[in-house]
Structures are given as C-alpha cells and as structure tokens.
Symmetry: C2
C-alpha cells in the first residue's frame, strides 16, 4: 500500500492521509447477503483509475446513526468519500437525511430538480407519483449531481480537505454519475499519483503450479507487488509497481512482466481486463473467421459467453445445446453406435460433435464440450468433473480431457474456458 | 435493526451489543475492485441463518496494522467476528500473523497439521512444495478448524464474550468451514434470537409499479420491515418480522404476505431462494414434461440457466442458438420469406421459432427469444432493448413483446427471464 502506514482507528487525529478514498455502501440487503456488493468492486476500479485508490471500504445498515458514525470516521482519514445506496423513494432510504443532518444542511424542495423528475415520468408517458416528489428535496448548499438514468440526484459536498459524494445504489445510475461527473472531477481537482499496475490473464494453469514455475516470487517481488486472483476460469496476476516515480514504475512493471512471461508465457492470453472470449472474438473478426459450438455439459454457457460480446453475430454463426444423445445424433450427425460404444463423455464423441457442428453450420471452426458437471452422474472411471473438449477446422480436430472438481456451475465455467483456451492455442499456432 | 441502537464509533466503551456479527474481508484485490466480494454476501446469509445477523462489514487491505485496527474495533461491538482471506501460502497473506500478534499468541509448527497438508498433496500424487509447510504453522492456544478442501486451517479464538473465526477466502473452502464448523458451533453455543423473515420472488413487474399496486407500504410496515431488491430478472421482496417473539413474528409475516399477495400475487413465482428456472424445473419434472429452446438474442443464456439445475437432462432436451438467419431457417424451419417480410425481431418469427423448436426436438414445449440486446443494431421502430419471446405447445403458441433498456448483458438476462415467466404462467394456467 505504498508509503501510507496503518493507524489505529478511533483516534480523533485530524491528520489526513492524502489521496486515498473510502467507500461506504449503504443497505441492509448487503449486510444480510441478499445481494452481492458489485458496487464496491466497480467503485474500487473506477476510483483507482481516477487516481484515488480505495484504502477503506465498509457496508453500513439503512440507519441514520450508523451511516453518520461511519461517515465521521471516513472524514478523519480519507480524502474522498463515496457513499452509495439509500437515495431512493422508499422509506428505508435514509442516506440523504443522514448526510444532510451530519453536515447541518437544511433539506429543501428544489424547483429545478422537481422539473427534471416530472420530465422523466412524462417521457415514459406517466404522471409523477406523489412519492417521487421527495426525490427533488435536496440539502441546501450541496451540489446536485445530474442523473440522466433515474430520479435520484447525487450529492456533492466539500468538507475541509475532504470531498464527499453520495450517489444512488442502482448500478447503472451509480456508474453513470461516476463516469460523467465524479471521475472527471477527481482527475481535475485532486493532485494524485496514479497507481501503475498491470494485469495478466492466464488459463489452463493453477495457482500452485504458477508459483512452482516461477520458482517463488522473491525475484519478482523486488520490482512489483504481485497478487494472485484465482477463479474457476483461471488465475489473474495483478502487478503493482513499487516505485512512485512514473518512469521507474513502468520499468519495474516491464521487468517483472518479462520474468513472468519467461516462465509461464504460454498460459497468458491477455493483459488488462479482457476475457478469453473477447481475445478470441477479436482474432476471429480480424481474420474473418466464423465458429459454431456444440455443447453438452456446458449447456449453452459457451454460446452465452460469446454472445455477451457486442457484434458477436459477425463470427458466431450458431450453437447447438445437444443435451440428449438423440440431439447429438440428429443435429450433429454423431453416430448412435459411437455413443453406445464409448459413452457420451468420450474423446470419440467430442471429436464427432466438433466436426459435426462445423459441417452443419458451414463455419471455419467447430467447438464441442461433453462431460459430467455434477453433482450426480459420475462413475468410478468418469467421476464428476470429467469432460472432453474439442476444436475442429477443415484440416484436423484437436481434443483435450479436463478433470476438475468444483460445484456444478464452476465446473461448467471451467469446461467452457477449456474449450475456449483450446481454440485460442489453435489460433495462436496458425499465426506462427 | 430491532432494538439495537447506533453508537458512535471509536469510543472505547466495552459495552457489548449482544448477538450481532461483524465480517472482515481481507484483500487488496477487493479494495481495488478486481474481484467482487461474494464472500461477504455468503457470510451475511449464513450468519443470519445461524442466528447471528451481520451488523457491520468491512474490507481491509493485506496489511497487518490495518487488519488489527479493524479487529480491535470489531471486538468492541460484535459478539462474533469472522475474518476471511489472507490465510494462503503466498507472501501477501498476512491474516494469520495479524491475528496471532493481536492476541499475543506464538506461532508454532503443528505436527498434526503438517501431516494433513502432506497427505493432501500425496492424494494428488505430488510432494508438498516447501512453501506449503507454512500452512502447518498455527497460533498456540487457538483451535484449528479443519479444511477438507484446502491446505489452510481456519482459526477459532475465544476472547472475553466474543468469538473470532479466521477462515480462508477461497469460496468453497470458506463455505465448507462455515457449514461444517462455524454455523453448528454458533447454533449450539450462542443464545440467539433467529430472524424471522421471508423472501418473495417476483417477475414481470417493476419496483415503482409494485409500490403503486401496494398503495404505499405503510399498511404493511405495521407488521414487517419490507425491503425491495431489484435486479434485471425481477424484484425480490424481503420481509422481516418486527416482533422478537417467534409466534408473533410468524403471524406478522403471514399477515404481511397476505396483504402483498392480494395486490401483486400473480407476479410472485416463489418464496425463498428459488429461481424461476428452478420453479419451472420442478413443475416440469413433476408432470414429466420436456422443453427445447430456440434462442437468438439471449444467445444460449436460457439453455445455460436451465442446465445450471442439477438433473436438468430429465426435462431439457436440447437448445438451438440460432444467431444467424440461416440457422433459424435450417434448424427451426422458419421460412426465409417470414424473416424477410417481418424481420428477425418480430412476433411472426418468434412464433415460428418456438413452434419449430418444439417440433424438431419432439418436446412438449418450445421456447423462443429474438430481439436486440445492444449496444448496436437498434432502429427507430425496434430500438435496442426490444425483444419478442414465445412459448409453444401442442395446442397453441403464446408470444409477448419486451421493451427494456439496460446494458447488453442485463438485456439478455431480462429477455431470458421474460420467456421463462411466459412459460411459468402457461404452466400455472394448465394447473387451473
């Protein structure tokens, strides 16, 4: 965490740690675990990109006293405080009251905000319900952050050396305000040191094998802080330069990346936030190639992953979710005898599926998966977590066996990533 | 939040608030937003179910001083503290050191734990790497929580009236320890008042329309706290009884649920944690019926959603991801002229797709989606967010138009939920 050092909480020292942000996400539903806190993750990324990394983050109940207590502590240590949630029209939304009371600001009905709320309802051909009138009540002296996607304005308050933003918890409204207002404001008004970091995406290799291949990380640790982020689709490596000097930091990153690529380069498919499907999509689009997928154990996930990418209709021709054996035969032309002889989960069948998908769809590549996602359906020879994946083109079909053991959903993710990685390696070889 | 009242933070009063838990999730990657904090959500649900609801939750850096500062504050107010993350073998894992130092416990190599770690590697046919030896080092005086799914033991420490659990951040290891050790321990050793609550799942109706239909929530608010949790697939209503008395609480819940069902009953498809796909799966399995799906705009998501359910092969026969117009014609028999005349996104085409899917797959029901997920591809008559969904059986085909405007992924989710809800209503009518 750079030069900043920890300080016990609760002391009322006003010595402000420069350039760090604190996130306060408001909502009982977050404490109860009814929703996952995607907002905190988004704000973590967005604030780091705006040059003010998040050092503290907490979740607080829909309760005026609790919100104020957390806000008070945040103002003692952070330069930027972002509260999100609790600005809606329902009675459990108390963030606006908590903030106004805390800063001793009077709440008043603002005619300009009322007009906007009414206009928004008018656009959808509805008259404004009385409950939404409250959305135009705003703390006097605070700046309103426009919300083109909803009725709740954000609140912008400057307090000493600290700036406070309170924004809605609805993700796209929050993201809109962050991108169009808060991030530009921070970049312009806060003297910040950008964090120099780099992300390497890997597939097909586990965390412990990476550590082993790297031979420990002491020799990398000289240059960067290296974080391992494992997930069912692979391990993400996050490198943060140690130097505060921009040029030196870039050099540190390059040095560390070189050391890592020497050892595990063949497993790194991207830098930055790209997914494997996005990398593949770009290659296919550049080369004007098309794919079709035949899925058994992944049950549509491979198709879903590709079709999440805008413009995927340019390369994704069709998908077959051939869950039953009959559908494998009817749609892909997999011979019944092949399934009877080797079982649906076999190298022979996955090869026939990939080739069949390609032929039937008349695409350049055919992808296929067949396996046992669990929790039931395993046998001693083919336990839950066993799958075969294959990729066919005009010349050949390559196949690979996967053996994992997570939950059903994680197994599906792992199988899907395996067939993507097989295609990726094929595409890479074709370049070479 | 019941009887408990807020208390400003940082005062060192030792007055303990009974029966509340605090979650501390450890990891720079969480602050940076590189991963979403699913662990906090899981713990929120699991601790509430174990009778100790979470009242405070924070994320802390991989930094000994910061972890200790948050732990110190937690011990002042919570009865149960759960730390998760930072117990792995890599150098950024410092939670064990932070906790041992905080409680003044010596770290020692435990022969029994070392044996377990070695045995685990042996099971996978590998010798233990030297780095994993550290996993057997444990604070003297603390209890070790067994970890059948990994090498890091959990730490269980009693401190005055408070109990502290430190467990790994790998989700399935954390969940395993929670279910097999911590939850049973809490249920047995903590005198707790269970939270009496109920969740109602809705689809096909927005938050503001629910509020309007309910005519405000004041009359419901007498009995329960009502929380609205909107998501792209629908609004979840979470009811928490106000009374601490178990029988009275149950009566309050029933009263409130009755009031809500009177007004919006037709939009409620489940109570509890069930998804719409799970509800449909149960009905189909009970009636011995089968489905096939034909997806354009949802691109495999409907198939993926159904095949996430264990045992889905009993009712899910096959899926067609007919992204191209050619595939709609070839696989589903949609006449080319129909697509030319009405466009791929039209009532005519979605009806032909649903009927075609059913006929080709010889299933009882055929589901279909076609639309514009965005961000591109919209026209003035058919803007991004427009979709048609349909369900066919032997007697008839029903179709419905959807008009939404979120991100591409959220639009896909909304479209998928729409066709599921259409099937659900059909299945309900057939009962009646």
């Amino acid at each position: 965490m750079g030069k900043a050092s920890a300080r016990p909480e609760g002391k009322s020292s006003r010595e402000i740690q420069p350039k760090f942000a604190e996130i306060i996400t408001v909502g009982n539903e977050l404490l109860m675990g009814l929703v996952v806190n995607g907002n905190a993750a988004y704000l973590g990324r967005a604030l780091a990109e705006a040059g003010v990394p998040v050092r503290w983050s907490s979740v607080v109940a829909d309760h005026i006293g609790e919100i104020q207590a957390v806000l008070e502590r945040a103002l003692e240590r952070a330069s930027v405080v972002v509260l999100t949630g609790g600005l809606g029209p329902t009675p459990d939304d108390v963030t606006k009251d908590a903030v106004a009371q805390f800063f001793d600001m009077q709440l008043e009905l603002r005619a300009d905000l009322l007009e906007e709320v009414e206009a928004r309802f008018a656009r959808f051909g509805r008259t404004m319900p009385e409950v939404s009138r409250g959305q135009a009540i705003f703390p006097r002296g605070a700046k309103a952050i426009p919300n083109p996607l909803g009725t709740a304005s954000g609140i912008h308050i400057t307090h000493g050396n600290c700036v406070v933003f309170a924004i809605p918890g609805v993700p796209h409204e929050m993201e809109g305000m962050m991108e169009s207002y808060i991030a530009p404001w921070l970049l312009e008004n806060m003297a910040t040191t950008p964090i120099v970091s780099k992300t390497l995406q890997t597939a097909g290799i586990g965390e412990s094998l990476i550590l082993e291949r790297l031979g420990g990380i002491e020799h990398i640790d000289e240059f960067v802080n290296l974080a391992f982020l494992p997930s069912p689709v692979g391990v993400t490596l996050h490198l943060t330069a140690k130097s505060q000097d921009l040029y030196e930091a870039e050099a540190q990153l390059a040095e560390a990346e070189g050391l890592i690529r020497e050892r595990i380069g063949e497993f790194i498919y991207a830098t930055g936030k790209q997914s494997l499907a996005e990398v593949i999509a770009r290659i296919l689009a550049n080369r004007g190639k098309t794919i079709a997928v035949a899925e058994s154990c992944t049950g549509g996930l491979v198709a879903h992953t590709f079709t999440n990418i805008p413009g995927s209709s340019n390369f994704f021709e069709r998908g077959f979710v051939t869950y039953s054996n009959r559908s494998k035969t009817e749609l892909l032309g997999v011979p019944e005898e092949l399934i009877q002889q080797h079982g649906a989960v076999s190298e022979e069948v996955v090869r026939a599926m990939a080739g069949g998908a390609r032929r039937k769809a008349k695409t350049d590549y055919g992808l296929a998966t067949t396996g046992i996602a669990g929790p039931d359906g395993g046998t001693p020879e083919k336990p839950v977590g066993t799958a075969w994946v294959a990729v066919a083109d005009a010349r050949e079909t390559v196949a690979e066996k996967i053996q994992v053991g997570y939950t059903r959903e994680a197994n599906k993710m792992r199988f899907a990533q395996a067939v993507l990685f097989l295609l990726y390696r094929k595409l890479m070889q074709e370049t070479a």
